[in-house]
């Protein structure tokens, strides 16, 4: 197994908006180290080994700073430590303290702190992390909240606990958190924790009540958002579109929910556009002029796309399916794409339930077990169509047997009618008491009829 680098430097710059800028930053940092990885917007991590005979790590940080400055970047903090979590914490700390007390600051394990740089001494990572707040550790937000509620304030509070306690409470994530708190981090180039998600807003030159100027602005905002998502290596699963309206205190908000995590600009544009189109009236105008448009990513997820195969012609892009389903939902409503989700109740119309599919990924995870194979049978089961509303019909009976059904199209002789099958229930709210019959007309139609309170209803048919 390849060993992780024993010294790592994290370089943070003022955040850039365009992905090529980060590529330029990484290229510029090659002046200091041959191993550079982009780990977030305006952030890179480099292998800090090998400078012992060239002026030490302080010389390395100067070389990194110089390289970044020459490429046009403003460095906001450089941290050096044994492992990534220590280097990141040092860089974040220097950025937070920039221009205040950085010169006079001393923390355990700190070897040097000057010129926007903190160097943590070898094997002193745990001591350096201990007094820092928990926000310096890349923990899931939910776990961070629970730890805060339990009274954990500093990383040292976590490091002193028994690992098994955290494991029993949080599972593998607890073990990972405990390892990080003790500066045990065997991955050198993992992404930085994202503390703020991409957002972009633009104030319009003047109030706009038509769709076109908003769409123009929207395209521009999405370009920036998607660039940020690309930098983060993340995809959006939920966005909010906010319109600040003239003469109103409360902005109008809409939620954009792609069916699958995505950073495809065109797809997100279509979804936002569909959302805006729903807000405009018949004249194509909004009810109040818009002053400012804000687009905010609320949730992100790692891209889960499958790699396509150029040499396989039958490969179908799941993202394209997700895009199509998202567009359907955006235009026709959230419940238009559905999955069968029958309920174990007696009333047929309640039994036939459809569950709206909100996310392609979720749907896949929630996929039920195989119930029984549909194909492969020698004789197939007939499929029922249940009318949205039962249709009232007239039925003629002779000695209790159903002999003829009459509807608006005329009489239909019945050659056989099986039944009744009685169901009743829900006496506490909406009582029903029905007698169901399966009837076959002379023309071969298989109908599902029921009688309730002396009236006959056609409820469905088999096809």
């Amino acid at each position: 197994m390849k060993a992780a680098p024993s010294r790592v430097a994290t370089v943070l710059t003022e955040r850039s908006a365009e992905p090529p800028a980060d590529a330029r930053l990484a290229t510029a940092l090659l002046a200091g180290s041959p191993r550079v990885a982009r780990v977030g917007p305006g952030a890179c991590r480099v292998d800090a080994r090998g400078w012992e005979r060239c002026g030490g790590e302080m010389a390395l940080t100067r070389a990194l700073g110089k390289g970044a400055a020459e490429a046009g970047f403003t460095v906001s903090g450089i941290g050096v430590g044994d492992v990534a979590v220590v280097a990141d914490a040092a860089a974040l700390l220097i950025r937070k303290l920039r221009g205040r007390e950085e010169g006079a600051m001393t923390l355990p394990g700190m070897a040097a702190a000057q010129d926007g740089t903190i160097i943590v001494a070898p094997r002193a990572g745990a001591a350096f992390l201990a007094p820092l707040p928990l926000s310096f550790l890349p923990l899931p937000e939910e776990m961070r909240e629970i730890l805060r509620a339990l009274g954990f304030r500093r990383i040292g509070d976590l490091a002193t606990r028994d690992r098994s306690e955290l494991e029993s409470r949080f599972g593998p994530a607890g073990v990972r958190a405990h390892r990080l708190s003790r500066a045990e981090d065997d991955r050198a180039f993992w992404p930085l924790e994202v503390d703020d998600l991409p957002q972009a807003s633009l104030e319009l030159d003047g109030p706009a009540d038509a769709l076109e100027p908003l769409l123009f602005v929207l395209r521009h905002l999405l370009h920036r958002i998607c660039a940020d998502l690309l930098n983060l290596g993340q995809c959006a699963t939920r966005l909010s579109l906010e319109l600040r309206l003239e003469g109103r205190h409360t902005p109008r908000r809409a939620r954009i929910l792609p069916a699958r995590p995505t950073r495809r600009e065109n797809l997100l544009y279509d979804l936002c556009r569909a959302s805006l189109e729903r807000a405009v009236g018949r004249e194509g105008l909004l009810d109040s002029p818009v002053l400012e448009v804000t687009l905010r990513v609320e949730r992100v997820a790692a891209p889960g796309t499958r790699q396509g195969d150029l040499f396989t012609s039958d490969w179908r892009d799941p993202m394209a399916a997700a895009a199509a389903l998202s567009r359907l939902r955006a235009r026709l409503g959230d419940d238009v794409v559905a999955w069968p989700h029958p309920r174990a109740v007696h009333r047929p119309e309640a039994r036939s339930r459809w569950r709206p599919v909100s996310s392609v990924e979720t749907a896949e995870e929630d996929r039920p077990r195989s119930v029984h194979p549909v194909s492969g049978k020698s004789v197939l089961d007939s499929v029922l169509h249940l009318l949205p509303e039962p249709v009232e019909v007239e039925v003629r009976t002779v000695e209790g047997c159903l002999v003829e059904l009459r509807d608006s199209s005329g009489p239909h002789p019945l050659i056989v009618a099986e039944g009744p099958e009685r169901i009743s229930g829900e006496w506490w709210k909406n009582p029903y008491r029905r007698e169901y019959y399966r009837a076959c007309t002379r023309a071969g139609e298989l109908l599902w009829l029921f009688r309730e309170r002396l009236r006959w209803w056609l409820h469905g048919y088999w096809d």
Binding site: L310, F311, S313, R316, D317, P318, A320, A321, A324, L325, L328, L332, D335, V336, V337, A338, W339, P340, H341, P342, A344, P348, R351, W354, V357, E364, R367, P368, S370, V371, H372, P373, V374, S375, V379, L380, D381, V383, L384, H385, L386, L387, P388, D407, S408, S409, I415, E418, E421, I423, R438, C440, T441, A443, G444, E445, L446, L447, W448, D463
Partner: protein
């Protein structure tokens, strides 16, 4: 291997891919071997519009379900557009399990159905798209509202061709590449002491243009629908 040789090999392979038809496999099985044998190409042709015509109870939805299930078993995604919103969800529950994916599109406005089909076919991500006719009218005789317009058919035909998908519709189609006509066979009631009963199996006939017809046996609905095999592990009512 030298770079120039690698590039040449790559170019050759790309040329082969470009020359290959987009449609994978060429046909889609209906799930009924007798019907596949009757079809001209041994199955439903991909990249074509297939009319799935027939009155009520002629077995067309049952055969459609078997076709979609068979396609899903091969790992392809299928979409079923149900503008009438009449599908009974327990009957379709089993299609969720498997390799591929199954989506039901239920537009509130039935006139949006063709647009839904357009969008889904255009994505190129589905192996089959099926559009059911509207069949919720009072009349028992008419199973469809109106046929697909000529322009719409051509549009959907082109999209199906580009996607290598089969587009099946139970609406009347003016220019369908393949027309399957379904017809309910004669049901012979079983005479018992307490009166006539439905037989266990009912015949339906599927004819394919001039190629002839085939009889497909379907199970008659069992009593009652809430006691179906698919729901046997769930609590059912006492009758």
């Amino acid at each position: 291997m030298r770079h120039s040789a690698i590039l040449l090999e790559l170019e050759r392979r790309i040329e082969r891919i470009e020359a290959r038809p987009r449609s994978p496999g060429g046909i889609v099985s209906t799930g009924v071997s007798a019907l596949d044998d009757l079809l001209p190409e041994g199955g439903l042709p991909r990249g074509q519009v297939v009319e799935w015509a027939g009155p009520r109870s002629s077995g067309k939805t049952t055969l459609l379900r078997a076709t979609l299930a068979g396609l899903r078993a091969t790992g392809e995604s299928v979409a079923l557009i149900d503008p009438a919103r009449t599908l009974y969800s327990p009957d379709w529950d089993a299609l969720i399990a498997g390799e591929g994916r199954f989506w039901v599109i239920r537009p509130v406005d039935p006139t949006e159905a063709a647009w839904c089909a357009d969008l889904i076919l255009r994505s190129g991500a589905f192996g089959a798209v099926a559009l059911l006719a509207i069949a919720c009218g009072i009349s028992l005789r008419h199973d469809d509202d109106f046929p697909l317009r000529h322009g719409v058919t051509i549009r959907l035909q082109r999209l199906a061709e580009e996607a290598g998908a089969v587009f099946i519709t139970s609406k009347r189609v003016p220019l369908a590449a393949l027309r399957l006509s379904f017809r309910a066979g004669r049901i012979e009631p079983v005479q018992e002491v307490f009166g006539p009963f439905l037989p266990p199996v009912r015949p339906v006939w599927v004819s394919v243009g001039k190629h002839g017809a085939v009889e497909v046996p379907l199970l008659c609905p069992v009593s009652p629908p809430w006691n179906r095999e698919s729901m046997r592990d769930r609590k059912g009512p006492s009758t």
